[in-house]
Amino acid sequence: MLLLIPLLPLVGFLLNASFGRRVTKPVAGAIACGAMVASFLVSAAAVVQLVGLPADARAISQQVFTWITSGDFAVAFSLRVDPLSAVMILVVTGIGSLIHIYSTAYMHEERDSEYARYFSYLNLFAAFMLVLVLGSNFLVMFVGWEGVGLCSYLLIGFWFEKKSASDAGKKAFIVNRIGDFGFILGVLLAFVQFGTLDFQQIARAASQLGPEASFGTLSLITLLLFVGATGKSAQIPLYIWLPDAMEGPTPVSALIHAATMVTAGVYMIGRNAVLFSHAPQTLTIVAVIGVLTALMAGTIGLVQNDIKRVLAYSTVSQLGYMFLAMGVGAYGAGIFHLYTHAFFKALLFLGSGAVIHALAGEQDLRHMGGLRKELPITYWTFLIGALAISGVPGLAGFFSKDEILGRTFTSGHTILWGVGLLTSLLTATYMFRVVFLAFHGNRAEQARPLHDAHDAHDPHGAHLHDAPPAMAFALIVLAIGSVLAGYAGLGGRFEHFLEPSFAPQAVEAVADTTGELTLVFVSVLVAVGGILFATFFFWKDKAAADRMAQRFSGLHRVLMNKYYVDEVYDAAIVQPIRIVSEYGLWKGLDVSVIDRIVNGVAETVDGASVLLRRLQTGSVRAYAASLFLGVVLILGYYLWP
């Protein structure tokens, strides 16, 4: 039964890939959405069954087939549902279904074949993601890991005729690959160390050992795995692909780069919690990188003008929070934030998609404004999402973000807590900047010429209608989720539910409530403060924002250019490789050496034949002479005593 969960979207993929271009759009969409919804129902059934089991034996496994047997080593393709993966499959299939439904409206203007291609990729992605989270050993997880990377490439570069889109797809794939290299090394090292790839067996073996005091094998393994996570989940230093990935259709950004694929890294750490707990060195690195990424992305997001870019950097930032949680040992809190973040980040992306759709392709915040009246559903749902992400009490984000910050503080990492708090401020600020710039105020008169040619009959305003029913449905459901999802974590219920997945582990779930209220208060203060900042600079007095930008123009430029990270990478890594490849390997080796050898062989044969053909004199008498010579020689040979 577990196999059905990834199998249904896979079937959807096969159907749409084979026949999709021959059926009408509604049919293609129905196949894809149907597959997802069906998968969601099966997942829900599996979770219900799971919950019915006693807490210490909460796992359902299914071995599908034996994959590799080589000597003593055997790996099976087996799936396993436990509390952690239960959360993940519900998130993937549930939010995935909503996004599929949303896409049927969003992608409506594509040609039939492109429409089907989109949905086939989307289903394939879901199938791989589900394989990733359901796998019970590293190998199966890796299949999913690579598969989602592939689908990410396919979907980012969906409009591949546009150069920036295909470039972004390639960038994502290549950067991911670099991370995957580290991941593979980590897996191999784990195999060398433990002799198995199965998660349960590794956890059991690791728990026999004590936590490492210094940087040893376990730390190396976990560090390498974390490198893979930085690639997949866009942390420093491999986050650079995520902002570019916004070239893809907005629902893709919502699904892959907000709710699911990028969370694979966080999930992976959670899955290997026991292993990581025994490598405190790596955990520190994870936490530090997480929080630095969060801060850095927050600062960049503050000044971006493309609405999707802001959300992209926001995603990077929030992922940083999740890694911070994992790094301080609060695995449950990290997953909790993953779960709530899926709701409101997907909501924000889909909302921005509705805005872009309404404005016929306009994505620049400076050319937006006043959409509150024209797109009411979009506005209210977007606002809910913004409040949620800012950590306003009562909404989902508050519970999860607060949990992380609280656990960080109580585990003694005060500096990290401070940085996290600062990032919270930035989050609220940049988020509400978007809200005010897009939905309040007046739209600037010098709007950019509209991209969509087919709206020429209505030059000002294009499709300026609110989200069509399919999109609105998704937005509303997600908004409700953004409000209510957090309550699942009340009283630590969520984390308690997840605990068996992280056991046996060395970190106890500390429920120290005394200092907590103070911390909560501080968090709320920060959130509100951020909102007020935004209100001042971007609603009441917009000119003030411009003045600030001018005063700190140097800093502003650095932020606008994303700290020049891409340029640095290009100069330090890409160009040297390209130069070595072009001059060294291509011109030097391939052309000069190999070509010369191959051509040389041909030339030698040619030269030899020029010499040899002199034998063909055409003179019959010469032939007779050589014949005769042969006779004389052979005769001599035989007559010799």
Binding site: Q616, T617, R621, A624
Partner: protein
């Protein structure tokens, strides 16, 4: 008169036929007329015939002579076909010099 020269033994005959053979072989190279080349080949065949008959006589069988039949037959056939070819070549090139047929040259 009998003691003046040694009685011919087999070796004499063999040497004689060897001489004839080489004369024929030399003729193939020296002559620039195809017909004469064919004649030289006939000389060679005759030398071979002589060898067969001599050895047959030496061994006391009649097989040597029988083989000469076949050799002669082959020689006749070869002469006929060869001359036919010569006629064809002559029609083509109006020349009987083997050096003028160089179409096989590279």
């Amino acid at each position: 008169m009998s003691g003046l020269v040694p009685t011919p033994a087999l070796s004499h005959y063999l040497i004689l036929s060897a001489v004839l053979f080489t004369i024929g072989a030399a003729g193939v190279f020296v002559r620039r007329n195809i017909i004469t080349v064919l004649l030289s080949i006939e000389i060679m065949l005759n030398a071979v015939n002589l060898t067969f008959v001599a050895v047959g006589r030496y061994r006391g069988t009649v097989d040597g002579q029988i083989i000469t039949f076949f050799v002669m037959t082959v020689a006749a056939a070869e002469a006929a076909v060869g001359l036919a070819i010569v006629i064809g070549l002559f029609r083509h090139k109006e020349s009987l010099n083997p050096d003028s047929f160089t179409a096989l040259k590279w």
